[in-house]
Assembly symmetry: C2
Homo-oligomer: 421 residues x 2
């Protein structure tokens, strides 16, 4: 595209200030249970005066959108045609949607269900969903083994003869209410805004110039929720609910790396979810895009090398230390904001919590959700090389019904060396 073709050579506004706008954008009353009073979240890049949020939709994929516009393949003013895209099932509203402290990291009204804000859309406001809900059939090879071994039974409705599993699934983008996020972490909102701006290399000056904009769509991955069984069972106090919250690990989830228990534990969570749905309850798997403990895969691989090569080999007693040397912290997942997805689903009690993580357990129970039982990963599902991880985690406070490994055990839990490979 040449400059002559481009209509956009106007003054570049580096960052907006409240005074630059003649009219105030649509107000947002976060936590108001009435969606009309709460107001829509508008993160359009079309009419900038309409924006009442910092950042934009689709997280980092906005960079690809910019490439599409720069290269001339996408029109700058494209408005999404949302015909037929509405949720396949309604989720909520739940009492938690009206509690500004329960949900601070997503927009509970983000699915735009029941033609929400259709009137404003008709007036030309580019209001996009931050949540999408659909149906799917999924097929996981390990489940067919579970059927063959008699651990799972085909019921023809949830789990079909050919191994297919019928699910409802939802994709959820992060939508942060900055005052709520600050409160969750016990920091000043102004400190949070300044650090978010400075420590990302200067993303979004509006974080510091627009204190009136309280909503931020950060360019990080969101959550995908897989629901087995009837949606209504999730919130029915008389029906059992199984939940696994799983943090992304591409190397194991997709490629089956044997250094961790991620995929085996995920598949076990799905098995428990099926069994719970089959007795009339519901099973929920929440997949969080937090690769490598939210440190990213480059850092993860650097840590693998440091673990395997250190003196004495890859040992459970130095499992967390090696991450801390490289990243400065042993973990960056901040489970404090994770329970919001559960509150969006209206969860108040989890009968079976398929996770051993104490950080996840603490975050969920602290947010007001009761956990009845914690389900550990069956020993036979732990790859040999992942014993380093599992013993280190048990010693660090992860839940186990068995013995907590002491120092001697940790020192002796040694993984495969590079020379063995």
């Amino acid at each position: 595209m040449t400059s002559a073709q481009s209509p956009r050579h106007k003054h570049i506004v580096l960052t907006s200030h409240p005074a630059q706008f003649g009219s105030q954008p649509h107000p947002v009353q976060w936590g108001n249970p009435n969606p009309q009073e709460r107001g829509p979240i508008i993160a359009t890049l079309g009419n900038l005066a309409h924006r009442n949020a910092i950042g934009t939709h689709s997280g980092g994929y906005a960079v690809y959108r910019a490439l599409a516009i720069a290269s001339g393949s996408l029109k700058r003013d494209h408005q999404a045609d949302l015909t037929d895209t509405s949720p396949t099932v309604s989720i909520g509203p739940h009492p938690s949607w009206g509690d500004p402290t329960k949900i601070v990291a997503l927009d509970p009204f983000g699915a735009l269900d029941n033609h929400l804000f259709a009137d404003l859309r008709a007036e030309g406001y580019d209001i996009r969903p931050s949540i999408a809900i659909t149906k799917a059939h999924i097929n996981i090879p390990e489940l067919q083994d579970a059927v063959a071994q008699g651990r799972l039974k085909v019921d023809g409705k949830i789990l079909k003869e050919n191994g297919e599993l019928v699910v409802t699934k939802a994709a959820i983008e992060p939508v942060w209410h900055l005052p709520g996020i600050a409160k969750r972490f016990g920091v000043e909102e102004s400190d949070l805004r300044r650090t978010l701006f400075e420590q990302t290399g200067g993303m979004f000056p509006e974080l510091v110039t627009r204190p009136d904009l309280e909503v931020f769509l950060p360019p990080i991955g969101g959550h995908t929720v897989y629901i087995l069984g009837e949606i209504e069972a999730i919130t029915d106090p008389d029906k059992p609910l199984a939940v696994r919250i799983h943090d992304e690990c591409n190397g194991s989830d997709v490629f089956g790396s044997d250094i961790c228990t991620c995929r085996p534990y995920l598949v076990h969570g799905i098995e428990v979810a099926i069994q719970t749905a089959q007795v009339g309850g519901a099973g929920v798997i929440i997949y969080a895009r937090k690769e490598g403990r939210a440190l990213g895969e480059v850092t993860k691989f650097l840590v693998y090398n440091a673990r395997k090569r250190q003196e004495g080999g890859d040992r459970a007693d130095t499992y967390f230390t090696r991450t801390e040397c490289v990243a400065g912290v042993p973990d960056m997942r901040f489970q404090e904001i994770m329970p919001d997805v559960m509150h969006w689903l209206g969860i108040t009690r989890i009968d079976q919590f398929v996770s051993m993580s104490n950080m996840k357990y603490d975050a969920v129970t602290k947010s007001g959700i009761e956990i009845v039982e914690r389900i550990t990963i069956p020993e036979e599902l732990i790859p040999a090389d992942a014993m380093v991880e599992i013993n280190a985690k048990k010693a660090a406070g992860y839940y186990t019904e068995g013995e907590v490994p002491d120092e001697t055990v940790l020192e002796k839990t040694i993984g495969r060396q590079y020379e063995d490979a």
Copy 2:
């Protein structure tokens, strides 16, 4: 953390301008084959005067890093201890590393192999790797079936008795040379910078205020490369090379959704890679973080609903149209910058290209890599509901050895309806 504890309440610099720096940052001579002359990429958030790039490391995970600092769990001045983290194998340098047009979307020297820039690090420059290379054992359930069915043979070295596969893997962060990216898309660099700034909601004002900084680390996912067989075979003209470039699809890759061919084709790619490595060649799987055609998962699920609900059902003849209605384009993956990973590996000829995508084929061959043979997905691996996708793609120009479906076939290729579920 209270304000009193925080040492950082200085003037907020919203965006830097060249004049604000007394001394020039380390120059970058992109495409110079001598790494010392090329210079390091410095995207530190510690000493800002050292920065010679826009953005920072770990993509969007910088947001979590900011949370870690805001909440007081990470020190602002933490410097990575890179002891023992260096690559398990050396990759390159290759002639392509010295060609500023062949690689524009990653830093070929990003692994900091052979203690690269150790002298500058010792002087206090916070230079971090953007590439990490490690080893792994992986275990994919479908491969055990392939062994049982005689399609794959255990050799004890690449594919072990217990189904384990021995791989070298590399994680690669995007590092963009903006003049090179602009050239690749045939746009003016200033237009590209301005659009990247404006169409992301104002990320990184330095894109427009610092034309002297030519390197940008965008907050998008990168690539993971899995290598089977000897590294040297990748560039040995006498040895065969199989490659699959796979774009992320979490719903299929992890959860086995039957609406597309993603996981089956990925696993088939791994099978071909094993076979090629077993005859003395190499197999390369490149996994690109481009969920939902780089539109993100919310958009993807919206499109699924629109496809399934449209009049006449989910049909191959409207497969691309539905995405275009919602997203404005049928695809946002921009394969034009994908071949850079192959040039980083030194690939000049691919004997078996495990992909039917014409966009990928065109991008790879246009970049100067020869493709000898294209490998389609075997018919028996296509889930019934994914026939809509595969026929639509064949009709749109995707490679097939069979017949290209005509309009009648496309109209008649109808997927499962929501009512059937």
